[in-house]
């Protein structure tokens, strides 16, 4: 670029310099010519001055000779006074001109003329006779003629020189003008062309550099750039180097990532195998100890066996919790978050804690209102958190105390569950420490069993489900733990086992009809709107009988009792998830062969794969496509026709 820039600047500059130097040279020549002309002109002037001097002197002396009047001699005397100076001027001019010979001759003649004039004057002064004076005058005239001719000769050369010089100077001046104009035009043209050339070249290369910079940003291979040593060349080179550095860094990062992934997999594999390796011996310890426990044992032996069992179970809990914590920390922990109704989970947890609470005469009071409150959570982990909170509330309570559970919505986005005890409480300074792993605040000195991981794990679960677990305490009065989770839309809660026959008029939907002929369909669905849709649709197929139930448990009972030809199953059911219903249907030999079609909004590929693997006949997404539903029902009917006359399914219990 620098070179090009120089060229761009230099092209007009060279043109200008060329023109200027040509112009200067011409002007120099002109000056020479002028000087020559000037010298020639000086010679001419000097010669004419000397001639004038001679003429003046002769005229004066001639006048004096005719009149003998002395005043006529004035010009002669004046000439005498200056003739030497004028002759010196002429000599100098002639020397400068190099016209020395002619000048010497003219000077000699001048001297002779002046001598004659001096002689003539003295003859007049002496009163010489007229004829002598006339003869002298004639002779003087001849001398003057010679002198005039010689001066003419002397001035002829310089005159020609002066004229010729003037011509040359005029021509040179025109030439200089022409060269100057040409130079200006040329310089302008060269400048414009240079800039255009430069700009197009630079712009093309800048474009390539910009494209390459973009490609570098996008991680694509760069366009090839011809090597160049100017700034743009260096820029292009820098981009190429940057690409190489970037590629090297990317390779390093990929390496590091692969290494991290390998390490993570190794860690996960380690955890998984640790989990297995630790459980295998525990399995034997607990298994044989349980067998021992069944035997007839003496009091001390029984006590020993019970202690082994308790310690073994404690160890097992510890292992499970440590592995859970490690999984959460390594990011390998997976949750299945879905809308979960809170109260059933609270109920299950209370049930589990019942015996322990009863041992210590502690009463557990469950929340009253808000039966449909639901949160987005992993049901199993929510259960684990609540069991942990409840077990703490029972263990760290005073004998005969109470545990109070409440649940409520916080605004529209969150819901909370609180577990409050009436124990000694926790000092404010320790309220956060209790969430640190293995921090039992001295409880290890007491008889209270615990691993010290329960609360940290519960908090980790809560946070993994985008919730919070916090504690407040009034020392001496009790402690309150608050679990906050994202709220889900309220879920209708239907007592389990309550079969709900779709309330659509018409004899064919009456429950008794299920036992009759034709296609019998069992729809396990808790949403009345969906039941209504399917019920109305089935009016177009009068041979089909529909029974609907609103819970999984009721569905299982109905399926086992009636052995329908097709089961339509919703996945989000209160109490028991559709997957569990499916599993139990499959596990029960009586119902294992009934085709099951799942109707659900959970249409992720993983869910569908899972269901297919579980032997589901069809999967229909909600909102229901009625044409699809029709096809499904018709093919089930066709299958039923094909099997008509084949032995009926084995009734349960046989």
């Amino acid at each position: 670029v620098r070179a090009k820039g120089l060229i761009v600047i230099a092209a007009p500059l060279i043109a200008l310099i060329g023109v200027t130097s040509a112009s200067l040279a011409l002007q120099y020549s002109e000056r020479q010519e002028r000087s020559v002309a000037r010298t020639a002109s000086a010679l001419t002037t000097a010669a004419q001055q000397v001639l004038l001097d001679a003429l003046n002197a002769e005229t004066g002396v001639r006048g004096y000779a005719v009149t003998s009047e002395p005043p006529f001699l004035q010009p002669y005397d004046a000439v005498l006074a200056r003739v030497a100076g004028d002759q010196a001027t002429l000599r100098a001019a002639a020397d400068a001109e190099g016209d020395v010979g002619a000048e010497r001759a003219a000077a000699a003649t001048m001297t002779r003329v002046m001598g004659q004039l001096a002689r003539l004057r003295s003859m007049v002064g002496a009163g010489a006779p007229r004829p002598a004076l006339t003869a002298e005058l004639v002779s003087g005239k001849a001398g003057m003629d010679t002198f005039r001719r010689q001066i003419a000769d002397l001035t002829k050369g310089p005159g020609a020189v002066t004229a010729a010089g003037r011509n040359v100077i005029t021509r040179m001046e025109s030439l200089i003008d022409a060269v100057s104009i040409a130079g200006l035009v040329l310089g302008l043209l060269a400048g414009v062309m240079g800039v255009a050339l430069f700009a197009s070249g630079v712009s093309r290369r800048v474009t390539v550099a910009a494209v390459n910079a973009d490609r570098l940003g996008e991680g694509q291979p760069l366009e090839p750039v011809p090597g160049a040593r100017d700034e743009l060349g260096r820029l292009a080179g820098s981009l190429v180097r940057a690409e190489k550095v970037l590629a090297a860094r990317t390779a390093e990062l990929i390496g590091a990532r692969d290494e991290a992934v390998r390490a993570s997999h190794a860690k996960n594999a380690f955890l998984s195998s640790t989990s297995h390796e630790l459980r295998t011996p525990l399995n034997a310890v607990l298994g044989f100890t349980q067998l021992l426990e069944m035997s007839d044992l003496s009091g001390e032996d029984r006590d020993a066996v019970e202690r082994i069992l308790a310690a073994g179970r404690h160890l097992l809990t510890l292992i499970n919790e440590i592995i859970d914590i490690a999984r959460i920390e390594s990011g390998e922990f997976s949750l299945s978050v879905e809308p979960v109704a809170v109260q059933p989970v609270i109920g299950e947890s209370c049930l589990l804690m019942g015996p322990l609470a009863a041992d210590r005469s502690i009463s557990i009071s469950q929340p009253g209102p808000w039966p449909g409150l639901a949160v987005r959570a992993d049901r199993q982990r929510l259960h684990q958190i609540l069991v942990n909170l409840l077990s703490n509330a029972v263990k760290y309570n005073r004998a005969g105390g109470t545990v109070t559970i409440t649940c409520q919505a916080i605004g529209s986005g969150l819901a909370s569950v609180t577990v409050a005890d009436t124990g000694p409480g926790i000092p404010p300074a320790d309220l956060e420490r209790i969430f640190d792993p293995f921090e039992r605040l001295g409880a290890e000195q007491t008889a209270i069993e615990g691993t010290g991981i329960g609360l940290p794990l519960a908090r980790a679960f809560a946070e993994a489900m985008e919730g919070q677990l916090t504690a407040t305490s009034d020392p001496g009065v009790g402690a309150t733990f608050t679990l906050t989770l994202p709220r889900a839309p309220d879920m209708a809660q239907v007592p389990e086992g309550d079969a709900n026959i779709a309330g659509v008029p018409g004899p064919r939907t009456a429950p008794d009809d299920l036992a009759g002929t034709g296609i019998r369909i069992l729809y396990i669905e808790d949403n009345p709107a969906n039941i209504e849709v399917v019920t109305r649709f089935l009016r177009t197929r009068p041979a089909m009988r529909l029974q609907s139930v609103t819970s999984g448990q009721a569905g299982l009972e109905a399926a086992t009792r009636d052995i329908p030809d097709l089961i339509l199953l919703d996945l989000h059911l209160p109490g028991m998830h559709g997957n569990e219903v499916l599993k139990r249907l499959r596990a029960e030999p009586a119902t294992a062969g009934i085709p099951v079609a799942v109707l659900s909004a959970e249409a992720s590929p993983a869910v569908i794969r899972h269901l297919r693997a579980s032997g589901v006949t069809a999967y229909l997404t909600k909102p229901l496509d009625l044409a699809e539903l029709g096809q499904l029902l018709d093919s089930a009917a066709a299958e039923q026709d094909r099997q008509a006359g084949s032995p009926s399914r084995t009734p349960p219990g046989s």
Partner: protein
Amino acid sequence: MNDSVLYIDDGPDNILVVQRLLRRTRPDIQLHTASTGRDGIQAAADVQPALILLDNRLPDTSGEQVLRQLAANPATAVIPVVILSGDSGKVTVKELLAAGAADFLAKPFDIHQLLAIIDRYLP
């Protein structure tokens, strides 16, 4: 249906515990055992047990593979399979249930829970 249970596990201690447990509490049940997936699949076809207890980790294959092979064979597809495993990771449980497992019991299992499951499948 007969009164036999097939237990597929490579741990001798585990098998011994179940053997003694059943001998002591359910003497009518005949327990068959296998220590590899291959043997277990063969035994399932031969014995036609009322219930299969399957360890998730086997020397030659995974419990999930055994499940799929049992399901693929019409002779064994209807036999309920309960997974007994030391790894109670939720994903694994889901996968196994998806693969057709009837139930899941984490090891070390409580012998009363194991008896409850056996009672559920054996009349």
